[in-house]
Symmetry: C2
Subunit: 102 residues, 2 copies
């Protein structure tokens, strides 16, 4: 399990359209990608024009090779990319440990 | 529910000690903070000397006021802060939407 963490800046006039586009893009495209597990959309509190996407993949290559080199990637970016104010900042993270209050 | 996302750089010689310190600090201190829900520790793939902590709180103020102004904060930082190579970068995020592949 690998976490893709993407920070995406969106101008205020496009917030609502971007949020709707993410839902559409996930349901129609991203959810069909091999190795895709789950996604969360979050909005910044201090950085009010920045969203993040937490995308969980089975392996790093499911994202960096399988998805990015597939036709699905172009379709996904066509749906959400029009709302990007800047190129997104994307990095990957490996989960080490988790604690949940009982 | 609010996500605190903290990026923490740690020099390679301290990775193992830092990971152990996080577990100790969570179990002995952070887990006792009012409003604390869960935490995940992750390690960067591209940024191999950077960890992130995802800390889930019931409200923003549970972190920014309740925890940071309590004695627990000093105890937490005493356990993990010795391993910080730089001041951590901490921001808060509101969850909007989640999709899990069925």
């Amino acid at each position: 399990m690998i976490l893709e963490l993407a920070f995406i800046e969106v101008l205020p006039a496009n917030h609502e359209a971007f949020e709707a586009a993410v839902k559409k893009g996930v349901e129609e495209v991203l959810s069909r990608a091999p190795g895709f597990i789950a996604v969360e959309l979050q909005k910044g509190i201090e950085r009010a024009d920045t969203y993040n996407l937490h995308i969980h993949w089975e392996t790093l290559e499911d994202h960096t090779v399988g998805f990015r080199e597939s036709e699905l990637f172009g379709q996904w970016r066509a749906i959400i990319g029009v709302y990007f104010a800047n190129p997104p900042v994307v990095q990957h993270w490996s989960g080490l440990w988790r604690y949940v209050k009982s």
